[in-house]
Symmetry: C2
DNA sequence: ACCTGAACACCGTTCAAGT
DNA sequence: ACCTGAACACCGTTCAAGT
């Protein structure tokens, strides 16, 4: 007799939206987007698939709630209390929070793209935008540039986070568990793939292929943030 | 007797990968990702669902090929011949090509995120990276900064394009057909939604909400590109 | 070599029926 | 009020059979 569920667990406190979302995040992290089904989720919660619909309207809301939960946790680096750090450093902290979240939850980036196209700016985008915008305001940026500067930061972060999630997912699929050695091996693979591209068609990529090997993702990401911050600062110097 | 298909069309030249991908893009554009099914695609091509599998291994490859086709067309602004324009202007052209592509194909941004996480850097990312990298090289950037600068540009573009695709999709779903008047109406909706946010929790967003109304998406996008380009330039001045 | 279409193993979602 | 689980209308994919 095979065990039916690897999660017997005592009884079960009554189902709740919170518990369902929590279980959904867990499933997304462990078995991926394709593994998150209402049947699997129900089994995980020791209930039937129909029960979930009492608390959640459908799969769209479920994915949205999972995304929001993870983003909210990632962005909560600024506890609305003491703001001893410089705005630039706080931007870096928020950015890194999201970056690391996409590494821990490789499904996040795609869900962000998907989420944004469902309910516009619904709940997750304003969170990020507000958090970054406060720091922009705290810098020397004139009000007319607030929107552009904050948008640029957010777009860079979302793009980079998406890219990182992609890489993490690829590495995970290649069976690399995430240790530094494995990560290096993965980057070697990428670098080798780049060097294998047609030199006629991709001369630039081949020229920088060796720069990929051994570089640190987070460091690279922060270098980009610094670059965008430099652009924000440079933009309203005398002459602009 | 109802007509069975709204696409009788003479006979049909024999099926081909190219024709299938073309039809897939058409379906994605008209009925969205959820509307692209093998059965619908087969009907569109006056054949059976099984026939498609002779030319394409499965849905993943189908979506990947559709994405690549659209990206390749969008990035092909630099005909490898005369390069009279400045590198900065070429960056703007490539960036705008992708931006407009996400407007014409709202499913593109999500597919980009998805695609990148399947086969790493497979076919679409190198195309974009190469195209931008050539321009970075043509600017005054020292070789050590090529990778960072090109990455920053690409990440900003992907993030902004994703955001734009999201907005386009939302506007389309709201029944706005894309004319300027409708677009303005949509932005009014966004602006109003922002102003309705809790002022305690979102003070910054409320402060910039009025800046959204009447702003031009493409102009805003290009302002971000200019900002990133300024960051790239500023970054290797004396003192850095 | 290329196409057909029934069949299989799933999905998300609904809903009468239970407690 | 909350949960159950069978049932419905789909999917992607396979594969024997055709041409």
């Amino acid at each position: 007799m095979a065990t039916r569920s690897r999660r017997p667990e005592r009884r079960q406190e009554p189902l709740s939206r919170e518990r369902i979302v929590e279980a959904a995040v867990e499933l997304l992290d462990t078995v991926g987007e394709r593994g998150l089904t209402f049947r699997a989720l129900a089994q995980h919660l020791s209930t039937g698939p129909g029960a979930i619909y009492w608390h959640i309207t459908g799969k769209d809301e479920l994915l949205g709630a999972a995304t929001e939960a993870v983003v909210a946790a990632a962005v909560a680096v600024e506890p609305s209390g003491r703001t001893a750090d410089s705005p630039e450093d706080t931007v870096r902290a928020v950015a890194l929070g999201l970056f690391d979240a996409t590494e821990a939850h490789p499904w996040l980036a795609m869900q962000l793209a998907m989420q944004l196209s469902r309910t516009p700016w619904a709940t997750v985008a304003p969170r990020i935008f507000e958090s970054l915008g406060r720091q922009v305001r705290a810098m020397d940026v004139p009000e007319a540039h607030w929107f552009t500067a904050t948008s640029a930061l957010m777009h860079y972060i979302l793009g980079a986070a998406g890219q990182n999630a992609a890489n993490s997912a690829s590495a995970a699929r290649a069976g690399l568990t995430g240790g530094d050695v494995d990560r290096d091996a993965f980057l070697d693979t990428v670098s080798a793939a780049w060097e294998a591209l047609d030199p006629e068609e991709y001369p630039f990529i081949r020229a920088v292929a060796n720069q990929v090997r051994g570089h640190d993702d987070r460091e690279q990401f922060l270098a980009g943030i610094t670059l965008v911050l430099a652009g924000i600062t440079a933009h309203h110097r005398p002459g602009h």
